[in-house]
């Protein structure tokens, strides 16, 4: 067997195997359910540009390995530099970079520019569950403060803010969203970093305690989608799950009417305050780590009585 043949074969198999795996592997992204098709397009473009470079470089190496194996007494070519060739390669690479970066930055500009009229909703993360807040009839979310969080006010809504009284609170249940309406998702965390992500929506952002972050998207497909936490948040990270239901406007409105507002939740707590304060399932590290299905099984908001 010719020297270098095995190595050249290895390199060729790497190219063929990689491209083949890309084309035939059953693992690919989920079907899009939001307006962010441009993100998918940018990924495809990047696959093409970088794929050509990968095949070219490894292919070139395979050729050299096959063509120039060691022979006693033969000498390599001696020409330490080739300025022209190097500048051509720099130019071509720069062109490829511009080709990928330019559309990328345009799409990023869309990503950070929330359209006027986008409905604001809030997602709140805490170890290890999701809660949601939607504005009430006034269309505005009330202000919040972590210091206000207590048994009767798990969201920490400022009780003196009239805009907060009609806020719709969803704790330990699925989030519903209307189809084809742009949503600005405000993100808040009570304890550590979390990240609200639905793979079908393609858009995510970390939630940072002490700050409100955001991203926006438009749901474009009805269905029920898994919510996963995408920023390590402690031992129950993998079990921090929820679901988003995207449905037509009328169904969404019917669902919305059934949800409890902040004012209603305060009244309910007042009625019960004669007895012991209600202790809902406080999700400690031990029970979170045990079950894989996560926090959405817990019907009531997490409340823990101070010792």
């Amino acid at each position: 067997m010719k020297k270098g043949f095995g190595v050249a074969l290895l390199l060729i198999l790497v190219v063929v195997g990689t491209v083949g795996f890309h084309v035939f592997s059953p693992w690919w992204w989920t079907e899009l359910a939001s307006n962010w098709g441009y993100i998918d397009d940018t990924i495809i473009l990047t696959f093409w540009v970088t794929g050509v470079v990968f095949v070219a470089v490894v292919g070139f190496m395979a050729y050299c390995v096959l063509r120039f194996p060691y022979q006693e007494g033969r000498r390599s070519e001696y020409n330490p530099e080739n300025k022209k060739l190097e500048w051509w390669l720099i130019g071509l690479t720069s062109f490829g970079v511009v080709l990928m970066l330019t559309p990328g930055l345009f799409v990023w500009n869309d990503f950070v520019s929330v359209p006027k009229g986008a409905a604001e909703i809030e997602v709140m993360g805490q170890q290890w569950q999701w809660s949601y807040r939607l504005p009430g009839k006034d269309g505005v979310l009330g202000t919040t403060d972590v210091r206000q969080v207590n048994d009767t006010n798990p969201f920490g809504i400022n009780p003196k803010d009239p805009k907060g009284q009609d806020d719709v609170l969803i704790a330990g249940d699925d989030l519903h969203l209307p189809l084809d309406k742009p949503v600005k998702v405000l993100l808040r965390s009570l304890d550590v970093l979390h990240d609200f992500y639905v793979p079908q929506f393609r858009a995510k952002m970390d939630m940072v305690p002490g700050a409100v972050t955001y991203f926006w998207f438009t749901p474009t497909r009805t269905g029920t989608f898994d919510v996963l936490c995408f920023e390590l948040c402690g031992v129950g990270h993998y079990a921090m799950r929820s679901k988003v239901v995207v449905e037509k406007e009328d169904k969404f409105q019917a669902w919305l009417k059934k949800q409890q507002t902040f004012a209603q939740s305060l009244r309910e707590a007042e009625n019960q305050s004669g007895g012991e304060s209600k202790v809902a399932s406080a999700l400690g590290p031990e029970n979170a780590a045990g079950g894989g299905s996560g926090s959405r099984d817990h019907g009531a908001p997490t409340v823990r009585v101070n010792p």
């Binding site: 120039f68 990023w108 031992v235």
Partner: protein
């Protein structure tokens, strides 16, 4: 051009400073334990790094077992899993790769390659190792304290890292932070040595533009580390304060499990900026030495000069500089001001240009070369393949909007393992096969080496290529188990099981490699002088392995660059750096010893 033409300038500047006498060991202890010889320190660094690296290897098996066969191992619970991934990552990046490239290869090769007798501050150099060993000891101790080591992920993001929902938040995190601080102190002592030695202790005729690229890579990486590590040091100190003294540098007002904590006013993002201001240059602290070393491996074993030497040097310098203005590409979805995305995406993709040029020049070095398929060459080729693969996926993650769906998925895991795990480690293997004959006087066994290469390269590529596609699918990283997730097909689990099996096989191949390292010490083929016929100075010493002081009575004098292979008209296919042009023909077949250099400084 004058610096690199083969008919090199014979006009060598005279020595400006007299040689300083070295510290000579008086006992076994000062010769082999508290040694001030950079070569002994290099071996100490390397053995410690490889030993702690083996711990990281075992941790990777444990985490792969959990991913491949969830709910099969009662001894791995979620806390254990997060501790495994955290310690695996931290050990590999800091305690193995950084320590081995700079403390190991840096110490061994810099003085020999620049023609110096030792590092310029041998005593501080010795201290550097002992502080590093202490840092490793503290790290290992964290496995044995109540609650175990930290499971905060290698990025140690607060507030999670120091709150009770994370494993090891009692003692593990404190020991981790103390260990990192010690590592940085130890590294700084070594790092100052490497930089000053390259700048001050080069032998006569060794201009900067005649340095082997190995030295250039380690030199620039050390400068990066000296500038980047202080940011991590500050972050570690502040987090220790937050954890132990209750300060709030990184801690805002927090309700933990329904309880109000007394923290308030701090910023979790501040830590992320400090961490990545260190963390991104860290990628190049590992990559630049690998770039340099692989250039030399390719050149020696392809019997051809490196192509475009000067561009290669400038690319290293430019990549090093740019690596300080790209850190926030790790934070596109961190919640920082999204307008930063435009700046950091642009700088990040610009860094691809000098990096790509390096790849082209490595490939072009093979053009019309005379390629010997030695083990170092095989590993060097493997490096180029994995580095190109990992580099182009970096273009996905660097382009801010593409990063949004991919961040924190298995795509990221696959990317950084390919580009700064597999690729640099292949270079380390190649480098060990290449320089082991110099360090021990014996060759490593070829058959075991072939087995090691084929299993490691094919296996590692098979492990990490498919993981990209799981990430594209939306499989998150740092998940103890996936449980029921509607969008993930059952086949993803089969793939994970397959990857785990391959990972165990690749792990086995590393045991063979270790066996080879030990066995060849006594039973390896005797190497003799300069078995690879290399032109750089470390192979031109009087003794093999080189003794204390490296060179004989006189330091070598350098007349040419390190890449004079296959020079037209020369009788051999290489001309060592210390051969003057009028002696090329005479020194045919036998490279001159250092003592053949010009003896007295010319006036």
């Amino acid at each position: 051009m004058a610096d690199i033409v083969p008919t090199a300038v014979d006009d060598i500047p005279s020595a400006e400073v007299a040689e300083v006498d070295l510290y000579h060991a008086r006992s076994w202890w000062t010769k082999y334990v508290f040694s001030q010889d950079a070569k002994v320190i290099a071996v100490q660094y390397s053995c410690t790094a490889i030993a702690i690296g083996l711990v990281a290897l075992v941790l990777s098996w444990l985490m792969r077992l959990q991913l491949g066969f969830p709910e099969s191992f009662s001894f791995i619970d979620a806390s254990d899993y997060y501790q495994f991934i955290t310690m695996h990552g931290m050990i590999m990046v800091i305690y193995l790769l950084t320590a081995l490239f700079l403390g190991g290869f840096g110490n061994y090769l810099i003085p020999l390659m620049v023609g110096a007798r030792d590092m310029v501050f041998p005593y501080v150099n010795m201290l550097s190792f002992w502080v590093y060993l202490l840092a490793v000891a503290v790290l290992v101790a964290s496995f044995f304290v109540p609650g175990g080591p930290t499971g905060a992920g290698w990025t140690l993001y607060p507030p999670q890292a120091i709150l009770s929902g994370t494993p090891g938040s009692e003692y593990g995190i404190i020991l981790m932070l103390v260990s990192l601080a010690l590592f940085i102190i130890g590294f700084t002592m070594g790092g100052l040595n490497y930089v000053v030695t390259v700048l001050q202790a080069r032998t006569r005729g060794m201009t900067l533009m005649r340095l082997p690229l190995t030295v250039w890579g380690i030199f620039v990486a050390t400068i990066l580390a000296l500038l980047a590590f202080p940011a991590l040091f500050v972050g570690c100190v502040m987090m220790i304060f937050d954890r132990v003294l209750g300060s709030s540098f990184f801690m805002p007002a927090i309700v933990e499990m329904g309880q109000q904590l007394s923290y308030g006013g701090g910023s979790p993002l501040l830590f992320q900026h400090l961490f990545w201001f260190f963390g991104h240059p860290e990628v190049y602290i590992v990559a630049l030495p690998a770039f340099g070393i692989v250039s030399d491996l390719l050149s020696v074993h392809a019997r051809r000069h490196i192509f475009g030497y000067r561009m290669m040097v400038w690319a290293i310098v430019i990549i090093g500089a740019l690596s300080f203005v790209v850190w926030a590409h790790h934070m596109y979805v961190s919640g920082m001001n999204p307008w930063f995305g435009f700046f950091f995406a642009t700088t990040t993709l610009i860094i691809a240009v000098p990096t790509a040029l390096k790849v082209y020049n490595w490939a072009l070095t093979l053009w019309r070369a005379n390629i010997q398929f030695t083990l170092p060459m095989l590993f060097a080729l493997g490096f180029i393949v994995t580095f190109v693969n990992g580099g182009i996926t970096g273009l996905f993650l660097g382009n801010v909007v593409v990063d949004v769906p991919l961040s924190d998925t298995m795509f990221v895991v696959a990317h950084f393992h390919m580009v700064m795990g597999v690729a640099p480690i292949l270079v380390i293997f190649g480098a060990i096969y290449h320089w082991y004959p110099l360090m021990t006087g014996r060759m490593l066994d070829e058959k075991m080496g072939q087995f090691h290469f084929w299993v490691t390269f094919v296996g590692a590529y098979t492990i990490f290529l498919p993981l990209h596609y799981l990430g594209l699918l939306g499989v998150p990283r740092r998940y103890f188990e996936m449980g029921e997730t509607s969008f993930i097909p059952a086949s993803a689990q089969d793939l994970n099981a397959f990857v785990t099996v391959v990972a165990l096989i690749v792990g086995f191949a590393q045991i063979v490699f270790l066996f080879n390292l030990f066995r060849s010490l006594r039973h390896g083929k005797v190497a003799g002088r300069n078995p690879w016929k290399a032109a750089s100075l470390e192979w031109q010493t009087d003794d093999v392995p080189p003794g204390h002081g490296n060179f004989g009575e006189h330091l070598p004098v350098v007349y040419r660059w390190a890449y004079d292979y296959s020079v037209p008209g020369a009788p051999d296919d290489f001309i060592p750096q210390n051969v003057p042009s009028n002696a090329v023909a005479e020194n045919h077949a036998e490279a001159p010893s250092a003592a053949d250099g010009i003896e007295a400084p010319r006036t």
